[in-house]
Symmetry: D2
């Protein structure tokens, strides 16, 4: 994460300007506002704005004229109830706005979450930053042999080194050619006075998918929780999971009651199918159940046993 001195000073300036407001205030997230949390080698997540606190959820659930209940206890009981019973509308009453810097191949996964507002840095207007993602060596995993979309073991030394070298070399080269085609360097300085330079909207196609982009991303709490339940999951690609983990920290500071309920009901919880529930009941009753007579496929049975801590 390379912040210019100018960017740092803009952030410091924003953090020094407290003003009075009559709105709900969450002290935990105020302490984090504007400051980037580093993610990957050059990425970050930072909170630009937020709306609501845990009691805004209670207030909305009751369609109340005042602040909701006065007692933290009652708020927690209601929030647990709402999350457990998937009464989602009160959670939509909180909103958060992030500024995120992330590699393009991750941005392409991220944007599939449609119920959010996005304003992305434009490669049609502006020159893309010279920043690209190179994985840590321990993240250089082989294709999984079990799971068609996952990662297996880390690559060994020489193969890993070769991968890093290729990624770095190609990223440097495509950017150097990007500048040559634009006839401008990364700061916008013209290279050759006699040439026009290719339009930015075209030249950008030469960049590789590990280049960083950035956007403002605004989402309501219900949809944020949905995003986090998918992207903080162990099956999510590592490079998006680390963003989700940073956002879980933000959630904890912003809405401590909701965070606790979410960890219990979603992140730490599980789903059982009708067959799975039947198997669980039989196991509780002390019966032996085998995959063969369970009606489940082998894959599904293995998944259930993993959830139940049986393998």
């Amino acid at each position: 994460m390379l912040l210019t001195p100018e960017q740092k000073s803009e952030i410091e300036s924003l953090r020094s300007e407290a003003q009075p407001t009559l709105r709900s205030v969450s002290p935990g997230i105020e302490a984090m506002l504007y400051t980037p949390l580093p993610v990957l080698d050059h990425g970050f997540v930072r909170v630009i704005d937020y709306m609501g606190t845990d009691s805004a959820i209670v207030q909305a659930a009751r369609v109340s004229y005042g602040r909701g209940t006065k007692k933290v206890n009652e708020d927690a009981g209601l929030i647990n109830y709402l999350l457990r019973h998937r009464h989602t509308t009160p959670f939509e009453m909180c909103e958060i706005k992030f500024h995120i810097k992330l590699p393009i191949f991750i941005a392409r996964q991220w944007i599939r979450h449609r119920t959010a507002n996005v304003n992305e840095y434009s490669g049609r207007y502006s020159i893309m930053d010279k920043e690209f993602y190179i994985p840590e060596p321990q993240q250089l995993a082989a294709q999984s042999r079990l799971n068609h979309q996952g990662r297996g073991e880390s690559l060994e030394g020489a193969e890993a080194q070769r991968v890093l070298q290729l990624l770095r070399q190609d990223a440097m080269q495509v950017y150097s050619h990007y500048e040559e085609m634009l006839n401008e360097d990364a700061t916008g300085k013209k290279l050759d006075e006699k040439r026009d330079g290719l339009a930015r909207e075209l030249a950008r196609m030469n960049l590789s998918l590990n280049y960083y982009t950035q956007w403002y991303w605004k989402i309501d709490l219900h949809n944020l929780l949905h995003f986090l339940s998918l992207r903080a999951d162990s099956h999510a690609q590592y490079e998006i999971r680390v963003y989700a983990e940073a956002m879980l920290e933000i959630l904890k500071a912003w809405l401590p009651i909701t965070y606790a309920a979410f960890m219990d009901y979603r992140i730490g919880g599980t789903s059982l199918s009708a067959k799975g529930l039947d198997i669980v009941k039989r196991m509780i009753a002390g019966q032996q159940v085998t995959q063969e007579e369970s009606g489940m496929s082998k894959g599904e049975w293995r998944e259930l046993m993993t959830v139940l801590g049986k393998n």
Copy 2:
């Protein structure tokens, strides 16, 4: 609008609790927070929370690290440009949350705007308030003869009086029977100790569509502007237009630059079809154009002439 003393005191209490925040603050809307603006005979709109200011739009459009520009002039130029060219994503970066009390038949129109978050008072859990809408006599219009969905002239004295009497009488009666079926009065007091009372989710079906409901309604600025451009329009039903007009006042206090641009580009503007544009060009060139040779239907021609101030 009947606020109980308890509701009034909750609102006063919220308005007396200013706290420091590092977020953007709009002084204009802070002055209105929580206070109901009366609409119709018992309805209201009040702002519960908001996110962003005019400069948040600029900040998002530039995906900037700081507050955007420092100069109001530049902000206005950019906001005008964005609105004129329908670059809508930066406007999605502001958000507002309202508490609204409105008749059910208006709520049914309102909810058709799907890109918003809603939490409605529940007639399954709670007893509906004994409040219903009765139009002002001058609003008692006849069905329009020109426009299949509009209103024509106001009804004359005796017919208007009869309508008001029927509306009032039926509304009183259905509520009285609602209480009898519930075996509870409006305050939840049991009427007859020996009866159970019908479930609330069933008894509510006896209420008429002019009964008031209320909800928390949260929406981003882009979608709010779309709502206002349709519902503050002269073709919108009067009973929803008055809510849109109250919200225009709120918008003006919240985001003065965006409000001015919106009044110019949307509320005061118009659309021309290809045919309409061709006719306008010919009229500017001093040619006579008639409906017959315009290629337009009579209705479309009449609409165009009205827009151009020709009838």
Copy 3:
């Protein structure tokens, strides 16, 4: 359900006009097209159009050039996998369009599902039908004492009779006054030549919430399954559940593989929180677990025991 002879003949005419198409065809749902399935006393659900079959889901999941696999077995395996792992996008590739007649108080619940397309019969243009919902006597339940939004036991004879009488009498009266205000009867015939009649958009406010409305409702399969998982649930209000049940029958005819997977993974399945999963593991290991040491509230414990068939 009162279909006029003209409506019946329109439906028959549509059902007699088979045409060749190169699109995927689902024989099961073709047999049901256009024909209303009766729901409640005057409501119905009928399928107007559909897009896709079980193999369209497979085809989309593979982004394939052809039809997907040829083998039903493989299709079922993949569909099960997708539904179990919440890979939802391939399910969005099927679409269905219904024509539904339903009481307004149910329409108000229904419309909260926002990710659908709706075109409702307009009470601004047209006269509302004289049809209202009166529950079957066995559906006249008391407010539940356990569950704040549910129903308890059925009301006894005299109280039930009184409820039915009030509902019927008020519904008849508000419609009769609706006609008087409109100065038109249900067929559009003017009542008094000397009066204008109140605008339709106003007069409709006198109708009660058990009056029927109707709409075209179009939704993709993923969102339909979400709707059904909430509305076919035993906690849903009876009057919407019966519509969901009719739509489950349609789903079964349309997409038999998806239907079977949905019944296993959603309708018959359950969710466990982190605490719930821990309790289940301990019970499988033969330990005694009590509510007091479970960390769960009494309500949550009772819900878990019900799911596990323990009470």
Copy 4:
């Protein structure tokens, strides 16, 4: 566009399997089903499925039991009216599903249209095709000097040749290194039996943004028209505009009445601001109006004069 013999034969097989259906059928689009329309050097658009015809819009607008009107004339009048008055819900009652092959940098623009269903080819599961976009020489435009995001004149010979060489060379090289990192070639054949190969979800980050991806994309007609009005516009990037133009041809074959109305009211039409409308009225009245006294900025005035054919 490189279709393999297998893909061609799958398409032919689908086109040979007509089946009877009771649904609405559009003969114009049936003739195009499944067949790819080539776009750019390797891309295509092909229709996989559709729902509805022009009369489905009429049918929905009337919430009718039958097919809508029998007369094409009346259908056209109503569709014109609906489109002119932005009554958008009946247009949502048609749906179309495409299979599209497009460069990744265009896919990133495209996906910003959120109200659509997308299922993209997965670079986590599968090896990306070795196909990348190289512009035609006449498309190699310089950055516009007037318009910050547009294209200016085409580049001259030597500069253009250099750009094409760089694009081609880098694209070839990054793919070759992609295969080396994967330890697989484009067909999935292992290269070196002793190495594991990097996980696909990681190796793909080395590909450049002109590589092609493909997806199934399904959208309702209202949102398709919105997409086309933005992307068939002269300000849209050329590489997305050619897709929009192919889809306009499809629209014309599918829904000829809607297509004609859309060309008149959207594609060929324009918007006027309040200021613009006032200027037009004054020009029609024969007055001279200048930018200085118009209240418009220079840019806005220039845009208006262009619309009015004055420069």
